[in-house]
Symmetry: C2
Subunit: 163 residues, 2 copies
């Protein structure tokens, strides 16, 4: 079993200078104990998804090299790809100035990473040219074809989208 | 004065199908009333920052074409570039599957967008090759030179980084 007991792979936050200009990885988790992680595809530099990590998910990601998140809808640790097989191998992790957000640069082990079946979760864009006359704002598709059949890949699992 | 009174430029969330596959922009704000926005630079497709918007910031962004956020550290509406002059002109806005995250593709009106003085807030990365032997994890720089002199640009303003 992977050891995720403290001491963690990250440092305590001691000063603004340490956090902004130092070499310690000292992430800041929000009030809910979560850190947002933007996931990008190393092949084309596109953004695949935005996930959230708790300390355990971050530790597991660092120790295993595979993306882990905290599923806010299921309230459970989430090894990305555990059901679909479409895991994400972590190639790089970038950290922002105040260390409250990270970028995971991944190699996508499968055709996509979106539960609806698209390659990226960001498969639509706002029709800005039509605003404000078209209010409420309208969306257009940027991905026109699904990358895989989500119904068969996620057969029997609840949809994670909340209203 | 810009009108941000309801009805907003976005629609009510009515069904999972509408949210995931429909053409209505129906964003979901989190328990704190915020929506994360990943900001990318249209010139090189790099990620500049991760910000958060409340309904007013999102409305103003849609109506003015300039990025607005909610500053969690100052607890105030934040017109990006209001102090530095380095505004962000919004070229595209992408929306994710459950509409609880967006990407702003911007034209950066200035040399950078990070309060420390770098072009991107993500100017460091974790030295993954050294893990786990090097615990806690260490950071290396991916941007080596500041893009502007943050001390003079933000003269007299409090540092937004929280410990």
């Amino acid at each position: 079993m992977t050891d995720t007991s403290p001491p963690y792979l990250f440092a305590a936050r001691q000063s603004v200078e340490q956090v902004e200009l130092g070499n310690d990885f000292a992430p800041r988790f929000d009030a809910a104990g979560l850190l947002p992680a933007v996931v990008t595809n190393i092949e084309d530099n596109s953004i695949l998804m935005l996930g959230y990590m708790n300390t355990e998910a971050l530790e597991l990601t660092l120790r295993t090299g595979h993306a882990h998140f905290w599923s806010r809808s299921r309230e459970a640790l989430w090894h990305k790809g555990e059901h679909s097989g479409f895991t994400q191998t972590v190639e790089r992790i970038l950290v922002d100035d105040d260390q409250d957000a990270i970028i995971l640069v991944v190699r996508l082990d499968g055709p996509g990473s979106c539960h609806v079946g698209f390659r990226s979760c960001f498969y639509r864009e706002i029709d800005l040219a039509a605003l404000p006359a078209s209010a409420p704002a309208r969306l257009t598709r940027t991905e026109h074809e699904c990358a895989f059949d989500a119904e068969s890949v996620y057969d029997g699992l609840p949809n994670p989208t909340s209203l």
